[in-house]
Symmetry: C2
Subunit: 349 residues, 2 copies
């Protein structure tokens, strides 16, 4: 039975970026130790996403017990929100660099990606989600997407739906994505499929909210095996916030144009083009885009050419309106209001 | 007349790191434009310390008006608290990189350092400070130190004191310092002089507090021409906080050992030595050391081998005690409690 009370709440803070810890993860310690021994590594860097940083010391303990005595393990203390967000300092200065929680955005010999496959069984909640999907006798076409954490069960999920008479549409998206059916917070090209409904299997609302924004014509059903709920994505609250930010920014005289220096978040041409065409725009470079850092600049509004989810999900925390590049074009009058769409990110680096 | 009510307040928040803006600064625009033209630069990076970031756009405007049309100016959005804290990303990717507000920690052809000499007249407040200095007939020996902002008047200050019968002691300190008589927040070697009193001329309490901590045997008189007050440095509150942190950390089981990746703040040997000798210590690397970043790690206490002033001045903002490397040795029982001293930073990078 789906939890109808969870619909339409529009609470963007509860977006699944902060993971619950009642799951078990596969840290693939053997694979890491093998690489350490093969390379005769003396320094090993470990990078965890924010929600899993507190598990870092225990993982380091396990690795120390297995590795030769002269290996030094280092935990990255830099914030991390995706495979776009590698700690390049640590990567360049360690013999082995392990990035946990994401699949490769771009393959590299220097990096061991440990996606942290979840041990949660997705099928009970998929069973419940059938109530929100169209009856296969009426509309058998359904897209299927998930996150890196559940990719190890993806083929089984496809079979499971096929056994229930669905025609499952999947695709790999573009080269920012590693796997068929995978979505990122900034990229939903894997849902560019010929079906009016998409089933998202995974924890939280962060990914399906982006999915529904990017594909407003599709019904996005969320089967969340972590929080054990089925919901249908609702973008209304989200869209209202975006329009409100665009309207507020229309009066801006001085614009700060943010170029993000994170390895997978740079859109230099876009940033430079805005500055070249607006005498009242100033190019500001930074890695972490935070309210504190922007407060120091006397600007009326900001355009963020880095991570679109900082702009859309964290936007209300900033003291001045922050827009995506597409929203900026609307605010300065180059595009009509109905051109507003979700900002996605393509390519690697 | 000195403002006695300002004595002993121990308010570490009002440390002068956030500068007042009623001063005028010399941005040395001509020198910057000359270099841009000489190098035929197309990209110019501008880095300001936190208290002056809001002036960045106006400085960029002035430079845009003077520079060729095809030059792109970029403002660093990275936090900046000293010459130890260069935006190396921006430095490496721009043809000219200008660092405002500090003198060179290490000379480099790549960087134009603009110290931002202040136009404030130091002599009226120095006149008032004579009331706190010993009568030259009794003790003529006085050390004189100041910050980068007032170095352009340093020779005049020496003369001014000599005319009033003082014997002025000055030295250059070590190679972390550019000028004779200069102090940094982390280095007071210029006050290693043969005098029992030191006159600090400059804004705020941040520098003289460190000076008094590092030289507890000397009377540190502060002539502050910015806030127009004379005070005598009082370290009592500061010392109490440090002892409180050390005591709290004595029960710690798990230690996070911070290695700071900022170009001028790395003490690798010190960090590694701690980790090698303590099985319950974990090496954590980061650039900005903030409460938010440390909160994600499940540690009982932290040792910060980076900027000592983050540890001592911002310490109370962190959720767990944070110690300097020397304080750590006390907390784990390797050194006695009375070994507690101010943590200073030497060398360049």
């Amino acid at each position: 039975m789906s939890n109808r009370s969870d619909y339409s709440e529009g609470d963007l803070r509860n977006t699944g970026m902060s993971l619950r810890h009642d799951r078990e993860w596969d840290y693939e310690l053997d694979r890491i130790i093998e690489t350490i021994e093969e390379r005769d590594a003396k320094t090993v860097g470990l990078q965890f996403p924010e929600g899993l940083k507190r598990r870092g010391p225990a993982v380091a303990d396990d690795l120390r017990a297995l590795a030769p005595d002269d290996v030094t393990f280092m935990l990255s203390g830099q914030p991390c929100y995706g495979a776009c967000d590698l700690d390049t300092y640590l990567m360049r200065r360690t013999d082995v660099f392990v990035h946990f929680g994401h699949s490769p955005m771009k393959d590299s010999d220097k990096i061991i990606y440990v996606p942290l496959f979840s041990n949660v069984d997705p099928f009970p909640i998929m069973e419940e989600s059938l109530e929100e999907l169209a009856d296969p006798a009426e509309d058998p076409d359904v897209g299927l997407v998930t996150t890196a954490q559940h990719m190890n069960r993806f083929d089984e999920m496809v079979e499971w739906l096929e056994e229930r008479d669905y025609e499952v549409h999947t695709r790999r998206g573009d080269d920012r994505l590693t796997h068929e059916g995978q979505v990122l917070g900034c990229n939903y090209a894997s849902a560019d499929i010929d079906a009016e409904q998409v089933l998202y299997v995974g924890g939280g609302k962060f990914h399906p909210l982006g999915l529904a924004m990017e594909h407003p014509d599709k019904n996005v059903v969320i089967a969340d095996p972590v929080n054990n709920v089925v919901t249908v994505a609702d973008t209304e609250q989200f869209m209202k916030q975006r329009y409100a930010s665009v309207h507020k920014a229309m009066d801006a005289e001085k614009w700060g144009v943010i170029f993000c220096t994170k390895i997978g978040q740079g859109r230099w041409e876009q940033a430079q083009e805005i500055v070249e065409n607006n005498d009242d725009a100033y190019l500001i470079t930074m890695d972490e885009v935070t309210p504190d850092r922007l407060r120091n600049f006397a600007m009326d509004a900001f355009v963020n050419t880095g991570c679109p989810r900082i702009t859309t999900d964290d936007g209300p925390q900033f003291h001045k309106p922050m827009l995506t590049p597409g929203e900026y074009e609307i605010a300065v009058g180059n595009e009509p209001l109905d051109a507003l769409e979700f900002d996605t990110f393509h390519g690697t680096w």
